[in-house]
Homo-oligomer: 499 residues x 4
Amino acid sequence: MHRLGQVLVAAVFMAVGLAQAQPIAVVNGTVLDGNGGEPIPNGVIVIDGKRIVAVGTRDVRIPRGAKRIDATGKYIIPGMMDANAHLVYEISPEFMARFEARLGDIAKETAQVALKNGITTLFDTWGPLEQVKAARDDINRGTLVGSRVYFGGNIAGVNGPLTADFHGAPPQELSKETIARINAMWEQGIGHELMFMTPEQVRVRIRSYLDKGVDFLKIAVSGHGSWTSGLLSFSPEVLRVMVEEAHARGLIVQTHTVTVEALRIFAEGDFDLAQHCGTTLRELKPGDKMLDLIPDSTIRLLVDRKRSCTLNAYTKVEIRRRIGDPEGHIDLDSPYSVPADPSNTRAIEALIANQNEKKMIAAGVTMLMTTDAGIPWIDSPLINRTSPCWRNKGQCLHFLGEGHIAWLRAVQEKGMAPMSALQAATRNIAAAYHKLGDLGTLEAGKIADLVILDADPLADVDNYTKIHLVMKDGAVIDRDALPTVKVITPLNAPRLATR
Amino acid sequence: MHRLGQVLVAAVFMAVGLAQAQPIAVVNGTVLDGNGGEPIPNGVIVIDGKRIVAVGTRDVRIPRGAKRIDATGKYIIPGMMDANAHLVYEISPEFMARFEARLGDIAKETAQVALKNGITTLFDTWGPLEQVKAARDDINRGTLVGSRVYFGGNIAGVNGPLTADFHGAPPQELSKETIARINAMWEQGIGHELMFMTPEQVRVRIRSYLDKGVDFLKIAVSGHGSWTSGLLSFSPEVLRVMVEEAHARGLIVQTHTVTVEALRIFAEGDFDLAQHCGTTLRELKPGDKMLDLIPDSTIRLLVDRKRSCTLNAYTKVEIRRRIGDPEGHIDLDSPYSVPADPSNTRAIEALIANQNEKKMIAAGVTMLMTTDAGIPWIDSPLINRTSPCWRNKGQCLHFLGEGHIAWLRAVQEKGMAPMSALQAATRNIAAAYHKLGDLGTLEAGKIADLVILDADPLADVDNYTKIHLVMKDGAVIDRDALPTVKVITPLNAPRLATR
Amino acid sequence: MHRLGQVLVAAVFMAVGLAQAQPIAVVNGTVLDGNGGEPIPNGVIVIDGKRIVAVGTRDVRIPRGAKRIDATGKYIIPGMMDANAHLVYEISPEFMARFEARLGDIAKETAQVALKNGITTLFDTWGPLEQVKAARDDINRGTLVGSRVYFGGNIAGVNGPLTADFHGAPPQELSKETIARINAMWEQGIGHELMFMTPEQVRVRIRSYLDKGVDFLKIAVSGHGSWTSGLLSFSPEVLRVMVEEAHARGLIVQTHTVTVEALRIFAEGDFDLAQHCGTTLRELKPGDKMLDLIPDSTIRLLVDRKRSCTLNAYTKVEIRRRIGDPEGHIDLDSPYSVPADPSNTRAIEALIANQNEKKMIAAGVTMLMTTDAGIPWIDSPLINRTSPCWRNKGQCLHFLGEGHIAWLRAVQEKGMAPMSALQAATRNIAAAYHKLGDLGTLEAGKIADLVILDADPLADVDNYTKIHLVMKDGAVIDRDALPTVKVITPLNAPRLATR
Amino acid sequence: MHRLGQVLVAAVFMAVGLAQAQPIAVVNGTVLDGNGGEPIPNGVIVIDGKRIVAVGTRDVRIPRGAKRIDATGKYIIPGMMDANAHLVYEISPEFMARFEARLGDIAKETAQVALKNGITTLFDTWGPLEQVKAARDDINRGTLVGSRVYFGGNIAGVNGPLTADFHGAPPQELSKETIARINAMWEQGIGHELMFMTPEQVRVRIRSYLDKGVDFLKIAVSGHGSWTSGLLSFSPEVLRVMVEEAHARGLIVQTHTVTVEALRIFAEGDFDLAQHCGTTLRELKPGDKMLDLIPDSTIRLLVDRKRSCTLNAYTKVEIRRRIGDPEGHIDLDSPYSVPADPSNTRAIEALIANQNEKKMIAAGVTMLMTTDAGIPWIDSPLINRTSPCWRNKGQCLHFLGEGHIAWLRAVQEKGMAPMSALQAATRNIAAAYHKLGDLGTLEAGKIADLVILDADPLADVDNYTKIHLVMKDGAVIDRDALPTVKVITPLNAPRLATR
């Protein structure tokens, strides 16, 4: 009865939200519409039902009887989007044993925490298919308040969370039955076994997989696990078959790459979007004196072919934490800055990515905001390994709810203009995912997803946290009530003040 | 002084062997010349110096003063060749700690054990470069008696023996210094780090590597480690660069592949030789009901393009041991024969390979004998994992000295004609490695490497073990004196009767 | 509401059971009263309220209006007792993560499964204190139907289940917080830390501990963990202090011992009961040719001082499984029967215990039935290690519900008379635990706990499973309704037919 | 021939040393004779052959023809003694695999490094029996120059170095055969198996063991391994038997204890010497607020019964390193100073021992210098765990050659008077080990072991390092030539400047 009760409460709440026949006019604020032009002072946005019907200044006609929202001194931006997040984020064995039956609720809770923080749309790029799908569908049909979700399910070629692909080795302290059950939730027939198939065998698997109702396809062009680091999952022929099948259904295709060669394959291929483009790993051997970056030729290709890229962009504070140099001895701008311990792969990764990212930003590659975030679990035995930044507030990319602030800060540190950063968090994502007809900007005809901020986000990144109001689908969100589903957030509360 | 002493003894011994100005005539035996034609009864082979000067029947002129070797009732075959063996075979941490300073001697000892058993030429496809090279060079310059050695050094893209590529995870109980030192002996600048480079960066590394004097280049088209199983190491562009560089120097290129896609890449590419073609792995997931074999189209390509393949061919006895079915309940001929435990990857591998091999033999793919063998070490902590067949005499592919018997038995069990098997162990290897001008058959002009057997090897595989005499470079080998270098063989003696 | 619902159902059920003002007469059966005398044919047992008011033959007066239970052809025995069982049995990390919040329910469920199988009283010798206490108290106050429970809580000197004392090493895949929280449930201030204290410091801890309401005190005279095997936990002075404190409160003291020296300390000391007396471990070193048994002098002491002992008595079938000799090559009666692999400590333990047990039974040591059982969990990752006998029905000592059958079978195999075995399962336990005033035999004045069997248990051990009726506290138990609390038993059902 | 050569060189060298018929007179120095009295200025020590014949001031008669050693401005002390050192110190798996055949040479090398640094006598309290014995015997018979060695072999009740007693768990990467072979070198029939025996069975083992020729017996009153921490190995009866057997042969008995109870057992028993008396461990549980020290009653017993104790006394610098507090925030003098991480057992150990040691020094317990040292191996994979103080020169107790300096510094930091410290390093050890007739002081009749220092060791501990001359058995040692046996010391040289 408990969970049913939650759903009922949510449904009632939502029904109220949707009951508004009355148009809304947001007036007197500065509008940053996401198209990159000059801010519109004294802007007016008129919403009728789920959609925006007009955006302009004082000359916009406000329908009689419209409810007015006064935004004097405030800033209106499109609802923020996250190009890569996870409704189920934690993958430790203990978490799985403890929450196996609650993963669906956690997915819903996560979508609610995102919305509370102004992320009105997110793209789940790896998760348990049925649970994430249920969250998406409940939200779409209005029985759950939460961020709009699009999802890809599994990454083609990658095994489930309790495998060597994610843990270096399979867990030792769970039963085989548990491990198999959990992994199957993620794998869905397109796990590591694809590696061993012919192109046509892969085609059959991908078709069955796409029938499950995912919104896009993500492919592990690079291997995902720590030991497979740098290897390629698929031959060109197999990649071609997978892209064909997804495109035939009108689905975009995105990639996981971690080497310069894999990124070149992305740039030259027929893919739509590459996750964490800046991440090109390197294994240092005795005598290696410098780090190799993405070649200029590949960056040029990304620009010329208008390829969209996400970045796992860390702030300077976070980079220094990851390379073990809090006091700033190491020059973050030099390819000769090799970490003291050459086996510290995490440090190498951070140093290279930082420079790659600067190069790509300077070159004008189309960038999307991404956090790779979810709700971490404070009691996780993996916490130090995978999410070690509980204490550095606003610097922690992978903590959903604040990770996007870290991202916006990081890319500006790396040279991106504030207005471009805003577009990376809105319009660019909608465009890359082929959702620009409905989302990504404040324009007449678009779905009314917007955030009203108390101060100018272009002046200071922290202003993105000063949320006055979040609207999704034309309805004002009762942020204080979120999340209504509570599984992890109450557990985190004692130690994590923000939740 | 000890080791110097060994070398001196060997040198003296060899000098005696070479001192023969006198021609030799092997007479009255049945000659199986390696070309696949009818056996020559009452054959005559005349040797002068290192080379054969005539092969025929009674009408061959025997030089005056020639020393006659009477082979009445016996069979003369070309010196056997092994297309894939290892002068340093054991890779356990304890072995490395214990024998680090003796690896060079072990390489020499291994080449001697090979020769003692009638393998007059072997191709070392992975080993510590300097130590294997020293064995090759000492043998070539006549200061050491041993099998003729050609070597490739490292497999491009693969890390050293004390890494995850070979152990699943790096050893825990050796010092970092030891691990780095040992791995560097193997890696030689073309280890896993190549994965992270652009084609042109790889080219630079390969050039430096080939300068070190290897006889051929081996490439990890498939990843080598247990966790990288099935992934591809290199993009097509990188593969092309590596092949170009080797061919430019007249060196052949061979591949390591473990999937059907990687084998197709081999078949379609410009490579010369594929190791263990029959090995196409598979990861079983719940519900998987059958094993996938190499597609007919790929096998046709191998035949049409005359690609050479080695097989890690196990006998039925050994296959049943590996799949845990000593009593023969499982049908080895059906692709529906899935092992009881789907996580038993070794069993899956053996079942698939067995059928692949039958298909390829039936289709007429050019086959080479290979053992992947070396001298195992009886005290190895890995013995049960990597070489668990101490007790099944004559079935154990990876034990140098008897492994070739296991191979010859296995391929005949799988349908290869006895004469084809003999060619796989002689002529085909010489041809694939571009050594047919000197080696591989008994013909005038060739180097005089031959083995005289007491009984017909085509009638019974065990007759390959009935060695009457081994000749290499025209010199009769004192088999009883081998090995003169003794590091591992005396340790094995108490438990391993054959050594 | 779910769990509350369970309790309400149980309470209603129980209320019905207790509502009987009406006396009961069990008539016409054969009474085995637990005192060891001849069976009483045509016996009559009259119960009024919770107590037996008369036991005899036809001349016993049956009160007017008594409800008659006809036991023609049947056998009536005292309710069986288990001197060593565990309401929470499973200790794997996954189990703890998954069921942390359900341990209290599992304790109740276990007490119900025991009662269903005729165990009317059990002694929990190690468990989470609060959860086991709650089960005891609910049952005692009549709000839960279940076996009568007495408990000792922690074993003095032993750490909680997620420690090296129980796992060889602490679990790796649970968070520190989880591990600490779970262990604290068991340790209760008398864990391994007692080892480091003076006698008077230990006294303070034991006093606080006894205040928590346990029914007896169990002391780790021997260390409990696998690496502490054979060491002694406490000095004689500390042991004395602990015994003093328990005896001062009228509580009996029992011991955990695993060596001949520890058993001698028990026999010479002022303890009341020793668990698994037959278990005297041994570590074999190269050259050791035989196993040492308990010295005759110690056995004589046990008899002379009337010490009570439990035995972890395995059947022959189970012993052979444990020593890896299913076909019976090893002579179980010879002290020269050393296992092939001297590092197989489990096999050594089983071989020694078997002979010790025979010696003690022959000498007439007072024996108590014990199973060390609980409800195992079918999905346990430890199942193969700790409870590997899912398939050998009726041989599996540690499976609550059938373990006592295995015990009764085992001791008879080892030479105990059937009537003595029955007493070991009833009267002897009540006496050792100082409960003979109320429990252990069928006599006037005792609590009416009894089991009616369809066939003679002295003729065939399997007849103990042919339960016609179980009565506890004078109430007939609705066995079909048990367990009413369902946590583990439904999970086990698919694979374990009996549950 | 190599090793034989070393022995020959050593023998020749020694022969020269012993060839002196000529008496020696050390004159004009300040004599600190080890008896604790006032220093003797202008002292004269006359040596004839191996013995001192006179000690005094100017009135001592110097034999005609005596060779004079002028010690003007210098200080003469008895040869220093180490009550607990190890000729084979390193126990990592790699070390054992690498040096298995060199352990005897390492034992000799270590005795030479000790002598070079002024330690003329050392007591090896745990090591491979045959190898240590050979070093002792070679030195005693004059064929090897080195520190005088007495040894105990194994610690009764403790397993060999490659076991859980020493590694927490047995090594994983060595073969079973290697592990068994190495452990047997140490165990010698009195390993962990004694735990499982009756007193009389233990007696038989101890008798056989003492027959092997050890100089004393060491008993594990406390368990030695990390998991057995705090448990007691033996019952009082077994301890009694072992002491009886050793004393019957005139051998002293020493103990390994790690708890307050075990130390009390020592103090009340009939033992001669306790190793590391100050080490009383503690396991902290949540809520524990302070550390328990050795009770006053036990310390009084140690004083009253004149028990001898060694201390593993760390300097303040080293203690702070071990507790992770280099900057000195934690008060080392308070029993409320609990380490931040209660699972840091090493920190707890260091904090408690420091205070125990102060209490015992203040109370006047008889103290012996001990280092528990040997020659560490720079490439050890355990180096960070067991010997992490390569960089803190003069603070590192367990590094033979400098460890005694660390000890002398540490005890003075803890309140011991400089003269008492000198006695702890000389006279007290001789007395405790029953060697006072020959060793420990500079007195007529004693063996002529002495060290001449360039500066006053009572004024500054570092002056113990300013060695002018070492004499042993009346012979001046050529310190520059030591060690003549070189196995580990050359390996350490690159990183360890002092060797």
